[in-house]
C-alpha cells in the first residue's frame, strides 16, 4: 500500500482509503421545502452562544437577526423563516443534552424570500470592514468544525498571512455538498475567496481539491477565467490525492506545500489561513447582499435513504422533516450528522440542522450489523493503526494505556493531545477495539483534570 502511495505521489504519510460511496456527486443542489417550525439552537459553533434579541410572539422575517453576539468568539443568528417566535428555551441538541433554542413557527402563506439585508458595495471596504461584515453574516466554518469565520480570518498582529488555502477536499465518504458547491457556485466561491484574501492580506489563494472531483476543479478554473484579471493576486485550483483525512488542514497543507505545521501550532504560524469552500461560497454570496446565513447545503445520503441528494436546507429544520422528505427505511437505523468517519449519531429526530452539519447519513441497523465482523478481540498488535494514523501516533499503545486508565501517561508520553479523532485507527482495527472513542474519553478526562487543577 505504501508503494502504491509512493507511485501516486501521496503527500501526507499514512491515512486510510475508505470506500468513497459518493452517491450524490452528480445530483444538483435542490431546495428543501420549508418546515412548519424551525428550531435555532443558540450554540451552533465553537465559542460562547449569542444572546436572543427577539421575544416570544414576535414576528420575524427571513434573514432578520434573532440573536446577537456579545463575545468575540461568537456569531449572531438570523431567522431562517418568516414567521412568529413561538418558544425560547431548551430543545434537544445535536450532542445529546438539551440546549437553549429559539423556535419559530413559519407563516404558511409567506413567500420565504430573503427580506432583510441591504446590498452594499465592498469594492473600497477595508479589511476591518470585511471582517465586520463576515461577523454580521453569522458565518462559521461550514465544513463541520463550526469555528467562527471572522475569528479565523482575522490575523494576529504579530503574524503575516501570504496564502489563503481553501479546503475543497471533502475526504469523508458519502458527503458531496462541498463538491456540488464548487461545481454550482464557483462564481460565489471566487468572490468569497477574494473577500477573504482582502480580509487576511493574502496574496495568493489555493483551492485544494481531492482528485476524485475533477469536474469541481474544472468548474473552478472556468470561474477563475470568467472572473478575468484578479487584482489581488492569484487563485489556483489544485488537485491533491484522494485519501482520508486529506481534509484536515494539517494534511492539506502537507499535501500542497510539503510542510508540517509544528505540533500545537496553527497554519497562521506558517503564514496560511485555511477555510472551507462552503464557507467562502456563502461568504461570497452573502456579503454583497448584506445578508445573514439562513440556509446551507446538506448532503442527505446513505444506504437507508430513498431519495438521496444535496439539499439546500433552512437552518433549524428538524431532522425528521429532512428525513421524511428524503425517505427513511422502515426498520431501525442510525442517523449520522456529518460524515461516517467523524460524524456524530443523532439521539433524536427532533434535532435541528445547524450551521456545522454538512451531511445527514442514514445507515440501517441491518446494514451496520452486516458490515461489522462483530467480535471484539484483545489487541493483537498487528500495527495496522500505527500504519494508518495520519498524526504518527501509536494508537495501539494508547489503546492499551486507555484500557488501564493511564490517561496521564497517554497525555505526557504518547502525544494524546495531537490526536484529532479522525477515526482511522478504529476504522482499520481488526480486533474491533473502539480506539478513537477511548481517546475521546481520555482527552475529556485530561481536560477535566486540567480544569480542576486550575
Amino acid at each position: 500500500m505504501k508503494l502504491v502511495s509512493w507511485f501516486r505521489g501521496e503527500a501526507f504519510q499514512r491515512g486510510v482509503h475508505p470506500p468513497e460511496c459518493k452517491l450524490t456527486a452528480k445530483m444538483p443542489i435542490r431546495r428543501l421545502p420549508f418546515p412548519p417550525r424551525v428550531i435555532v439552537p443558540l450554540s451552533q459553533h465553537i465559542g460562547k452562544p449569542p444572546r436572543p434579541i427577539v421575544k416570544v410572539g414576535e414576528e420575524v422575517v427571513r434573514g432578520q437577526p434573532i440573536a446577537k453576539a456579545e463575545d468575540w468568539l461568537s456569531v449572531p443568528h438570523h431567522a431562517p423563516v418568516t414567521g412568529v417566535v413561538e418558544f425560547i428555551g431548551l430543545k434537544p441538541g445535536q450532542r445529546g443534552p438539551w440546549v437553549e433554542s429559539i423556535v419559530i413557527r413559519a407563516h404558511p402563506g409567506a413567500t420565504q424570500e430573503d427580506l432583510w439585508g441591504q446590498p452594499r458595495d465592498l469594492a473600497q471596504a477595508s479589511a476591518q470592514d470585511i471582517l465586520q461584515a463576515v461577523w454580521d453574516a453569522g458565518l462559521v466554518g461550514l465544513g463541520g468544525a463550526a469555528f467562527p469565520t471572522h475569528a479565523k480570518l482575522s490575523v494576529p498582529k504579530q503574524a503575516k498571512v501570504h496564502t489563503l488555502v481553501v479546503n475543497g477536499c471533502e475526504c469523508e465518504p458519502y458527503l458531496t455538498c462541498d463538491h456540488r458547491v464548487m461545481v454550482e457556485q464557483a462564481d460565489d466561491l471566487i468572490a468569497g475567496i477574494r473577500y477573504a484574501m482582502r480580509a487576511t492580506g493574502a496574496v495568493r489563494a489555493i483551492v485544494g481539491i481531492e482528485d476524485n472531483k475533477r469536474d469541481a476543479r474544472d468548474a473552478l478554473r472556468a470561474a477563475i477565467a470568467r472572473a478575468g484579471e484578479i487584482p489581488e493576486g492569484e487563485i489556483h485550483a489544485e488537485l491533491v490525492p484522494t485519501k482520508y483525512p486529506q481534509g484536515s488542514e494539517k494534511m492539506l497543507i502537507m499535501a500542497l506545500f510539503g510542510v508540517e505545521i509544528p505540533a500545537g501550532g496553527l497554519p497562521v504560524s506558517l503564514g496560511m489561513v485555511v477555510n472551507n469552500v462552503g464557507t467562502l461560497a456563502a461568504l461570497g454570496r452573502l456579503l454583497p447582499q448584506g445578508r445573514g446565513l439562513t440556509e446551507r447545503v446538506v448532503t442527505v445520503t446513505g444506504p437507508g435513504v430513498a431519495r438521496p441528494g444535496n439539499y439546500l436546507v433552512p437552518l433549524g429544520t428538524p431532522l425528521r422533516w429532512v428525513l421524511d422528505f428524503a425517505g427513511t427505511p422502515q426498520e431501525d437505523f442510525e442517523v449520522v450528522l456529518g460524515g461516517p468517519m467523524m460524524g456524530q449519531a443523532a439521539a433524536s429526530l427532533e434535532v435541528p440542522i445547524t450551521k456545522g452539519i454538512s451531511g445527514v447519513l442514514v445507515l440501517p441497523s441491518a446494514e451496520l450489523a452486516r458490515r461489522e465482523s462483530g467480535k471484539t478481540y484483545p489487541c493483537i498488535k498487528c500495527g495496522e493503526c500505527v500504519e494508518s494514523c495520519p498524526m504518527g501516533l501509536n494508537p495501539s499503545m494508547l489503546g492499551m494505556l486507555a484500557a488501564k486508565r493511564e490517561y496521564d501517561l497517554m497525555g505526557s508520553h504518547y502525544h494524546l493531545g495531537e490526536c484529532f479523532e479522525c477515526g482511522c485507527c478504529s476504522y482499520v482495527c481488526p480486533s474491533n477495539i473502539p480506539l478513537v472513542q477511548q481517546f475521546r474519553v481520555a482527552k475529556q478526562i485530561l481536560r477535566e483534570k486540567a480544569l480542576a487543577a486550575r
Binding site: V203, G265, F333, V386, G392, G423, Y427, V436
Partner: protein, 393 residues
C-alpha cells in the same frame, strides 16, 4: 423503528482478526503439502496430531475461561502447524502432542490468550520439546525416502512415555547412511560438510534431512506480505542482518565460516523469519522497532549457530527478541506529525512540488516544467552556480 446510536467512525474496514489468521493458515497449506510430499505419512501424522493437541488445549482454556479469544480465530491452528513444521518429521507423536499442549498452555493461555502472549507459542512449544526430548528432536530422517507414503518412520509411533527406537537400524535396512539423516546445519557444524545452494533452496534433491522448502516459504510469505497480513519489514530485516553478519564473518575467514548463502537457506531461518518472528502479538508494532527487532534476530541467529554448542539458533534468537520487544517498542515510538525534524526547522520536505512562499506556479499551468528530482536536492545546478558566480563578480 428506533434510532441506533454509535460512536464514530460508523464504517469499518473489512479485515478482522479471524480474517488475518485464516489467511495465514491458507498460506501455510502449500508448505504443509510440500512437507508431506517430502516426508510422507509421518509428516502428515505429526501435523495432524500436533495441531489437534493445540486446538484441544486452546478449547480447554477458552472453555474454562482462563484465556481470551475463541477457537474459531484460527490462531491455534497456526501455532500447531508451525510447531509441527519445526519439529523433525519422525518426531514421536506423543511427544508432539505434549509439545502442542505446552505451546498453548505455557506460551499462550498462561499470559491470557490471543494478543497477550509475550513469546511465540509455537517456539515455546518447540523450546519445551528441545529441553524435554533432546534426543528425539535431534533425530532427523532423510526426505524423499522410497515408500514414505506407505510406512511411517518407526519413531513416530513410539508408545507414550517410552523412548523412541533408534532410526539408524531402520535406515540401514534401507541401505542408507545413518548420517543422511542429519540436517545440513548439523552436518556443517559437526562434520564440516557444506550443502549445495540448489538443494537448500528447493529441498527437492532427495535423501537430505531438510525442512520445508525455503523457496516455497518465501513465496507464501510474499503472498501474505502483499496482502498485508504480515509486515515485510521483519523478514527483510532478519534476512538482511543474518546475511550481513554471516558475510562479514565469511569475509574475515572463509575457511572457518560457511558462506552467507548457506547461512540464510539452511535450517529454520526462512521459516522463522517469515512465519515465526512475524507473529503480530510478539513483535513490535512500530515500524522502526520492526527493523531493530529483525536485525536483533538475524544477528543472534548467526552468533548462536557459530559460537554455541547448538547447530540451530533461530528459535532462541526469536524468543530472546520476543522478550526484548517491549523495550524495543519503548525506544522506537513513532514521531508524531508536527514534531519531526522538518516541522521543527520549519522546512518543506524534499520533493514537495510547491514552494511554501508565494511565487507559486501551478503544477498544470501551461508550459510549466516539472522540476526534475535530483539526487542531491540542495546542490545548486552547474548553470545556477555559474550564474551566481557571475553575479558576484
Amino acid at each position: 423503528m428506533s434510532l441506533e446510536i454509535r460512536s464514530a467512525p460508523h464504517i469499518k474496514a473489512h479485515r478482522s482478526v479471524e480474517t488475518i489468521m485464516r489467511h495465514v493458515v491458507y498460506s501455510l497449506l502449500p508448505i504443509c503439502a510440500f512437507y508431506v510430499f517430502q516426508y510422507g505419512l509421518s509428516a502428515l501424522a505429526s501435523l495432524a496430531v500436533v495441531t489437534a493437541a493445540c486446538l484441544a488445549t486452546e478449547r480447554f482454556f477458552v472453555k474454562t475461561g482462563t484465556q481470551a479469544g475463541d477457537i474459531s480465530d484460527y490462531s491455534a491452528v497456526i501455532t500447531g502447524l508451525l510447531l509441527a513444521l519445526s519439529l523433525p518429521p519422525g518426531f514421536p507423536l506423543w511427544m508432539g502432542a505434549v509439545a502442542g499442549f505446552a505451546a498453548i498452555a505455557l506460551g499462550k493461555a498462561l499470559f491470557g490468550g490471543i494478543g497477550c502472549n509475550v513469546f511465540n507459542p509455537a517456539l515455546v512449544g518447540r523450546a519445551f520439546a528441545q529441553a524435554a526430548f533432546p534426543q528425539a528432536i535431534a533425530t532427523y530422517t532423510p526426505s524423499f525416502l522410497p515408500g514414505r507414503f506407505y510406512e511411517m518412520v518407526p519413531t513416530s509411533m513410539t508408545l507414550p512415555f517410552m523412548q523412541p527406537a533408534s532410526v539408524i537400524d531402520w535406515l540401514k535396512a534401507k541401505q542408507l547412511d545413518a548420517l543422511a539423516g542429519a540436517t545440513p546445519l548439523a552436518k556443517w557444524k559437526f562434520e564440516g560438510v557444506l550443502a549445495g545452494a540448489e538443494e537448500l533452496i528447493t529441498s527437492l534433491s532427495g535423501h537430505m534431512a531438510v525442512g520445508p522448502s525455503p523457496a516455497l516459504i518465501l513465496l507464501c510469505g510474499a503472498y501474505l506480505a502483499l496482502r498485508r497480513f504480515l509486515d515485510w519489514r521483519i523478514p527483510a530485516a532478519i534476512l538482511g542482518s543474518a546475511g550481513l553478519t554471516a558475510w562479514l564473518l565469511f569475509a574475515l575467514s572463509p575457511e572457518r565460516f560457511p558462506n552467507p548463502f548457506f547461512m540464510l537457506f539452511s535450517g529454520g531461518l526462512i521459516l522463522g523469519a517469515v512465519y515465526m518472528a512475524t507473529d503480530m502479538a510478539t513483535s513490535p508494532v512500530t515500524p522502526k522497532g520492526m527493523w531493530v527487532y529483525g536485525a536483533l534476530i538475524g544477528l543472534l541467529t548467526v552468533i548462536i549457530r557459530y559460537y554455541s554448542g547448538l547447530p540451530e539458533g533461530v528459535m532462541y534468537a526469536i524468543l530472546l527478541a520476543n522478550a526484548a520487544t517491549p523495550l524495543i517498542e519503548k525506544i522506537t515510538q513513532p514521531t508524531p506529525f508536527g514534531k519531526s525534524r522538518f516541522a521543527l526547522l520549519g522546512r518543506a520536505r524534499k520533493g514537495a512540488s510547491y514552494p511554501l512562499h508565494p511565487g507559486y506556479i501551478s503544477r498544470e499551468e501551461a508550459h510549466a516544467v516539472t522540476p526534475k528530482k535530483r539526487l542531491f536536492a540542495h546542490k545548486p545546478k552547474a548553470e545556477a552556480r555559474k550564474k551566481s558566480n557571475e553575479a558576484r563578480d
